[in-house]
């Protein structure tokens, strides 16, 4: 009986972890958002004690680049660190610092100097939770106006990791789909798959109806663009799904991300969030040069390399920098 009771408790715990992680990542930044938040507490604890002799943070003259606890964020931090080092700047990485609640205060007080962020979720998740800004320029303008005085964002990359409406290559070819608006004549016969909160989110079912006049046949609540969503799309259980735009499966399964011409989903450009007092013109130039070269496709290729092919993060990052003449 003991083993059976433990089993039920374990099952419930698993459900809780799953569901809690699902709800905490209403930002669209991560394809592996269900990673445990446990590292967050330990990492933030170690960075907050600046007297810790093992910590590389602050005052030691080294620029600390942080990352959240999912592969793309770690990869981007690696890109920043290697590019800074190539220009002779002492830079160190502090990876895997959990969710925004854990790392944002660290950047605000300067224990972390540079952080790869996503402009839309930075704004709506932390800086102004009531924002209605959607486009890259509107979001960046609000960030510039509303960030605390110690922080600023540099130039946004064209690389975007946002929610999307995505279909299989076969569906796209059959109906000649390029933009979300193209779905209009067919949506009534399609099942839409997305995270459960898509049902109530303003850019979810309601947004697709208001912006594009789409009413789908039905809605299947799945996961956060994770394995279940990918499998449901491949399997034909759903014909359209909310897949994040840098999810490696887009490459592997030749999914087609439909263009969001009416900005239903907020922009999620990769953007360096920096601690102003630690910046100098060289650092800013290096980070802006990366943003200038980083496209969604380049980011997707790198994500695919580290997530699907398990390539080494720094190898992938340095290959990108070398190809773009930044390494």
């Amino acid at each position: 009986m003991f083993s059976s009771r433990a089993r039920i408790i374990g099952g419930l715990a698993a459900v809780t972890v799953f569901a809690v992680s699902a709800c905490s990542s209403s930002s669209s930044s991560s394809s592996s958002s269900s990673t445990s938040a446990a590292p967050a507490t330990s990492a933030s604890a170690s960075t907050s004690t600046s007297s810790n002799p093992l910590s590389n943070g602050g005052g030691s003259g080294s620029i600390v680049v942080g990352s959240a606890n999912f592969p793309e964020s770690e990869l981007l931090a690696e890109v920043y660190v290697l590019a800074l080092q190539a220009k002779g700047i002492k830079a160190t990485a502090k990876l895997n610092i959990g969710a925004r609640e854990a790392y944002y205060p660290q950047v605000e007080k300067g224990t972390i100097a540079v952080f790869p962020e996503y402009n839309g979720s930075l704004l709506s998740g932390e800086v102004d939770k009531n924002t209605t800004a959607k486009t890259t320029s509107a979001v960046d303008a609000e960030l510039a106006a509303k960030l605390p005085s110690s922080l600023e964002v540099l130039n946004p990359a064209s690389a975007v990791d946002s929610d999307s409406v995505t279909v299989t290559a076969a569906t796209a070819a059959k109906y000649h789909l390029k933009t979300i608006a193209d779905l209009k004549p067919y949506a009534a016969n399609m099942v839409l798959g997305a995270p459960p909160e898509f049902k109530t989110r303003s850019d979810g079912i309601a947004g697709l109806k208001a912006n594009y006049g789409l009413t789908f046949k039905s809605f299947d609540p799945l996961d956060e663009a994770g394995p279940i969503t990918i499998a449901a799309l491949q399997d034909g259980k759903v014909q359209a799904a909310d897949v994040f735009t840098t999810t490696p499966a887009i490459l592997a399964d030749h999914f087609v991300v439909l263009a969001d011409t009416k900005a239903n989903f907020a922009a999620q450009n990769v953007i360096p969030l920096v601690y102003k007092p630690d910046m100098n013109p060289t650092i800013i130039a290096v980070l802006n040069a990366i943003s200038a070269k980083l496209t969604t496709n380049a980011l997707l290729q790198m994500d695919n390399a580290v997530i699907t092919e398990h390539a080494n993060y720094s190898t992938v990052a340095s290959a990108f920098l070398q190809a773009e003449g930044l390494g």
Binding site: L12, A19, P195, K199, R201, P227, A231, A232, K237
Partner: protein, 225 residues
């Protein structure tokens, strides 16, 4: 008490009792998933348990495998099957059946194997065939334990069928998962309360069943012991 009234407030809102995703609809879906999984689990585990209990052959292996089997994480199995099979019936049935089989199998075996050897001897001595020994003596005498196994399996499966919602299916897990995803905690509490109530109803059902099907003589014997 505040949790209860909070959850109860959600459960009793009339809006939640109408429409496609309403409470009655999800309860029916939940009972459907659980019922089918339990039926299959019983069809597999009861005959197997009776055979092993009667003959004693392979009992150590089977019972140990069944107990070790309980350590399989249902959620992990579910996600793995999604990746392997996509979204067929088997995807959600296999994990629930796998959860239901061990408690039934172990209890049926224990019940049949544990029948008083003197009674078994008497049955054989009275000229009963093996089939008659099993159906007229061993299974009826094992019934209390068989029901315990079925009850345990039912509670496991009813509680765990909430996982079906993880792969976009219905059932009471829908309220828990959707509520968490949209930070609507009264919905989470209400969904959890419905699962608890369903589990309690299962207990009541089995208590009644026990009164109805266990032979009167056996009940009297239990009381006097």
């Amino acid at each position: 008490m505040s949790y209860f009234s909070y959850a109860w407030g959600w459960v009793t809102q009339s809006a939640h009792w109408q429409g496609a995703d309403s409470i009655p609809h999800q309860i029916l879906a939940h009972l459907g998933y659980s019922g089918l999984a339990l039926l299959i689990a019983a069809v597999i585990a009861i005959p197997a348990g009776v055979v092993i209990g009667h003959t004693g052959r392979g009992s150590v292996t089977v019972i140990n495998v069944a107990n070790a089997w309980r350590a399989i994480p249902t959620l992990g199995l579910l996600i793995m099957l999604v990746l392997l099979l996509g979204f067929s019936y088997l995807t959600w049935l296999v994990p629930l059946v796998a959860l239901g089989v061990p408690p039934i199998l172990v209890n049926v075996y224990e019940g049949v194997a544990g029948v008083d050897p003197g009674v078994k001897d008497a049955a054989r001595g009275a000229g009963m065939t093996a089939w008659q020994q099993v159906t007229r003596v061993e299974v009826p005498m094992a019934l209390p334990l068989i029901l315990v196994g079925l009850r345990t399996a039912t509670i496991f499966v009813v509680a765990t069928a909430t996982l079906a919602a993880q792969i976009g299916l219905g059932g009471l897990g829908r309220f828990i998962i959707d509520g968490l995803a949209s930070t609507d905690y009264s919905q989470v509490a209400g969904g959890a309360l419905l699962v608890i109530m369903l589990a309690v109803l299962v207990l009541v059902f089995f208590a009644i069943l026990d009164r109805l099907v266990v032979p009167a003589g056996l009940r009297k014997q239990r009381r006097s012991e």
